[in-house]
Symmetry: C2
Subunit: 193 residues, 2 copies
DNA sequence: GCTTGAATTGAACGTGCGTTCAGATACTCT
DNA sequence: AGAGTATCTGAACGCACGTTCAATTCAAGC
């Protein structure tokens, strides 16, 4: 049934996803053609349809897998809220810096999703936000944090942390640990801890 | 030479820009056709070329005008850095909430600019960032602020403030003044003041 | 060596793209 | 009324799009 290990399908499939990821991130979903993706993979455009039913699904799968991986990557540890928050901030920055293209796409291409696909991604995004908000609320409850509004603080912190991706470049003047530390310092102060 | 006040050109020109703004913000530059813009304006596609040399320039003009207006809208007042920072935060949020479509485009469509146009917008953006960084440095110098890194703080604060645009909707549970106050509170704390 | 079927090609489909331009229209000024 | 011109139409240009599919290739298993 299956062909040998390393059959072409096992190679081409991931290649298609990687090429689409790269090109969507660089030029935007709407500006990239199936022929461009095929060219990057080294096949003709028709062959792509062995690996995705259509262009929209190619985008959606990238985004959904990314959001699911992000959610799976974070388990809030049993610890005081302050430590939870620090771990969350450092993990968020590190995870996002590891996947700049996926992060970029998941953020920029929402409007190119068909409504039902959009709803799926939106729900995953909200689930991730809820993880942070739970931490903030716990800190509010036990008096560690002083927050005017936990929902706004959640959104503000995530916007701030994700913003790292817009400027950080490997090999710049700051190591990743430095960046994590600086941002954690600002977050910690902003929640009044 | 000029036709009467209210000649068609005086009406159609702005209409074209408004339609392009609306559609680019909603669907993205690459996903919007000149025919769609023309349809929204109520003319045929060919007529658009009386008002812009091409589609790229239509985008660029929107972005450049927005950035220039943003810069022109802010004069750092003569006041203690803490007051300057509060004024900046409130102004940034208010100004951005007034122009969600322009803000969205200026942020999302950078990659659709040709290199020389990109450089212009990028310079304007940096000039705006410099205004904030100058405030932060002044506060660092006189001891009002406690910042690990003024450049990173600049980027972090702008990312956080601009993030308001992703969720704020008129008529929601918070008035704009509330939002400004809550964000200013977080920013103030984050800079150690 | 032959069969089988997964993997891919290459051409084709209809559609829409950005842009141009000759001609029509409609308003202003004399 | 007539001339002049700003504005716009409507058709056309060549090209690229997403997607389909019959035909071909080629390795695996008998």
């Amino acid at each position: 049934m299956a062909r040998k290990q390393g059959s072409h399908a096992d190679i081409t499939g991931p290649k298609v996803r990687k090429a689409a990821l790269r090109l969507f991130a660089r030029h935007g979903f709407a500006a990239v053609s199936m022929r461009q993706i095929a060219g990057e993979v080294g096949v003709q455009a028709g062959a792509l349809y062995l690996y995705t039913p259509d262009k929209q699904t190619l985008l959606f799968d990238l985004m959904r897998d990314h959001m699911e991986d992000l959610l799976a990557s974070w388990q809030t540890p049993q610890a005081p809220p302050l430590d939870q928050l620090e771990a969350f901030c450092r993990h968020h920055i590190g995870y996002h810096l590891d996947r700049p293209e996926l992060v970029f796409i998941a953020y920029m291409e929402l409007r190119n999703l068909e409504p039902e696909n959009f709803a799926v991604i939106e729900a995953l995004r909200r689930a991730y936000e809820d993880r942070l908000e739970a931490i903030l609320k716990a800190g509010q409850a036990n008096g560690d944090f002083d927050l005017p509004d936990s929902k706004l603080a959640t959104l503000a912190i995530i916007a701030m942390l994700t913003g790292v991706n817009t400027w950080y470049r490997e090999g710049g003047r700051l190591a990743r640990g430095d960046v994590e530390g600086i941002y954690w310092d600002m977050v910690r102060k902003s929640v009044g801890a």
